[in-house]
């Protein structure tokens, strides 16, 4: 409950998933901004300047990977987590911007407290 300074940006087109992750993170005290598409998120990301950005892989329009690469150029300090429903091997481009295998979250996340731990860890270590 001591996370209000940590701003999280969430991109997820599935309404239920977006709502439940947002609810959980807000209960934990994070400030959460959520968007349905990568394009909407890109319009706002500079103003929000989130500590952590969680993006779904499959999105209408721009996909999660392209979104992260683009968002990274806009907010180089933000750390990115990729939320995906398929077994996914991190691309070289995403590794080049500092993402590791631990930044890939496999759907469904069984326990959201693990996501919280990951976000707080990132905010403490200042990775990004």
């Amino acid at each position: 409950m001591n996370n209000p300074a940590i701003t999280v940006l969430l991109v997820e087109d599935n309404d239920m998933i977006r709502e439940c992750i947002t609810a959980y993170l807000e209960d934990e005290g994070f400030t959460v901004h959520s968007y349905v598409t990568a394009e909407q998120a890109l319009e706002r990301i500079v103003a929000i300047n989130p500590v952590v950005c969680i993006s779904d892989m499959r999105l209408p329009g721009m996909d999660g990977e392209s979104f992260i690469l683009k968002a990274h150029t806009l907010c180089p300090v933000t750390s990115f987590l990729l939320h995906t429903g398929i077994l996914y091997t991190l691309s070289d481009e995403l590794r080049d911007i500092g993402m590791t295998d631990g930044d890939v979250l496999l759907k469904p996340i069984h326990d959201l407290s693990k996501l919280v731990k990951r976000i707080t860890h990132i905010s403490v270590t200042g990775r990004g």
């Binding site: 409950m1 599935n14 239920m16 998933i17 439940c20 992750i21 609810a23 959980y24 807000e26 209960d27 499959r58 429903g85 398929i86 077994l87 496999l106 759907k107 469904p108 996340i109 069984h110 326990d111 959201l112």
Partner: protein, 395 residues
């Protein structure tokens, strides 16, 4: 006919040479089915001396189920005087059944004696290969469906799991927003909590979560299909590796508690000097554990009059490393054996097995290692799984 050819066909010794050097079996039998001639190839292909065959009836060698079909073909040959083709199972001297294809026709010699003569060759491997190909195509199709389905199910599953978690947390007094909202509507959060506890609501939520996690584990298994992972393949000494898997099996909870693994006698026959095999250790562990699990379950699930036993053998055959895992359990019928590698095929009660273990093993062996996996079994005769891995490395 040119003079040379004429001479050739007049020479009985030359004819004999052709017949006796043929790699196919050449045979002739009378209308009652007694062999009056078989060529030396019979011994090479089926292991019996020609003297053990000549004078005997074909019914002594052909699988009883296939005899009526052969009789029909012979009748057709006699009636129509035309060449016919037939495939049947025939007994090999080593006790196994081989599948042969034969072309037969009738012949009347100069003395008016009538016989049925024919050529036969072994098609066991070819038919087996064709069946494996069909199986493999089927698996490819199913695996595509599985991957698509898994992806579609992950989001609703995530919503179930995570909303259940949110429900739990929204009645917790540790979250200030909860305390505030409770105060606004004039209830005590502690009392709400106590009520939910008393009525078992937290248990229900916990059950939703554990059921969701179980479903999610099944989906994760299904996704293994779309994964062609040969990353991380390393050269491995097969005997050491198999020993390690057997050790793992001995510590597995299900194996220990449900199937009394310690009561099963383990026999190991490892061939010496087996060259290292390139394999993905975790993948192949999963394959062997699944097979062992299946064997242990079969042995535990039936009252056997003998000591339950699993034999594990390694050897080299035709450029491949071979691992055989054989149990002396109740075995299975042909239909079950044919379907055992299909996803969701299970003979176990609902809830006992997902029917995915062996299909995942199939994918790992065939796609991940370019190997072969096969099962042979008969009711009451135990069950033997064979895994063959290429020795020349993984492509």
């Amino acid at each position: 006919m040119p003079p040379k050819a004429e001479m050739f066909f007049k020479s009985e010794s030359r004819y004999r040479m052709l017949v006796e050097n043929s790699s196919d079996i050449i045979f002739s039998l009378d209308f009652e089915g007694y062999f009056d001639y078989v060529s030396p190839a019979w011994k090479n292909i089926l292991g019996h001396e020609p003297s053990e065959v000549i004078g005997h009836n074909f019914r002594e060698f052909v699988n009883p189920d296939d005899i009526p079909r052969c009789e029909d073909i012979f009748m057709a040959v006699i009636r129509t005087n035309s060449m016919q083709e037939m495939t049947y199972r025939i007994h090999h001297g080593d006790g196994s059944w081989r599948r042969h294809t034969s072309r037969v026709n009738r012949h009347r010699d100069e003395n008016g004696v009538q016989t049925i003569f024919g050529t036969a060759h072994d098609v066991t491997e070819r038919l087996r290969f064709e069946e494996l190909m069909t199986q493999s195509e089927k698996m490819t199709m199913i695996s595509g469906m599985a991957a698509g389905m898994a992806h579609e199910i992950n989001n609703p599953l995530g919503a179930i799991l995570q909303h259940a978690q949110n429900i739990e947390r929204r009645v917790s007094a540790n979250i200030p927003a909860n305390v505030q909202a409770a105060a606004e509507v004039g209830v005590s959060l502690d009392l709400v909590h106590a009520y939910m506890e008393k009525r078992g609501i937290f248990d229900f939520i916990a059950h939703i979560r554990s059921a969701g996690i179980k479903a999610s584990d099944i989906i994760t298994n299904m996704l293994q299909f779309s994964r062609r992972s040969d990353a991380g393949a390393e050269p491995v000494d097969l005997s050491t590796f198999v020993d390690k898997v057997l050790e793992l099996a001995g510590t597995d909870y299900d194996m220990k508690k449900k199937y009394n693994f310690h009561r099963i006698e383990l026999q190991r026959h490892y061939v010496a000097d087996l060259p290292p095999v390139l394999l993905s250790v975790t993948g192949m562990e999963q394959v062997l554990l699944n097979i062992l699990n299946n064997a242990a379950q079969a042995l535990a699930g039936s009252d056997l009059p003998h000591q339950p036993r699993i034999s594990v053998r390694t050897r080299v055959a035709a450029g491949m490393a071979v691992i055989e895992i054989e149990d002396n359990g109740p075995g299975m019928d042909k239909k079950t054996a044919q379907r055992i590698f299909e996803p969701f095929f299970t003979t176990k009660e609902i809830g006992v097995g997902t029917g995915l273990g062996l299909s995942v093993a199939y994918e790992i062996v065939t796609k991940g290692h370019h190997g072969l996996i096969d099962v042979s079994s008969q009711p009451g005769m135990g069950c033997c799984f064979t895994v063959k891995l290429p020795l020349q490395g993984v492509a």
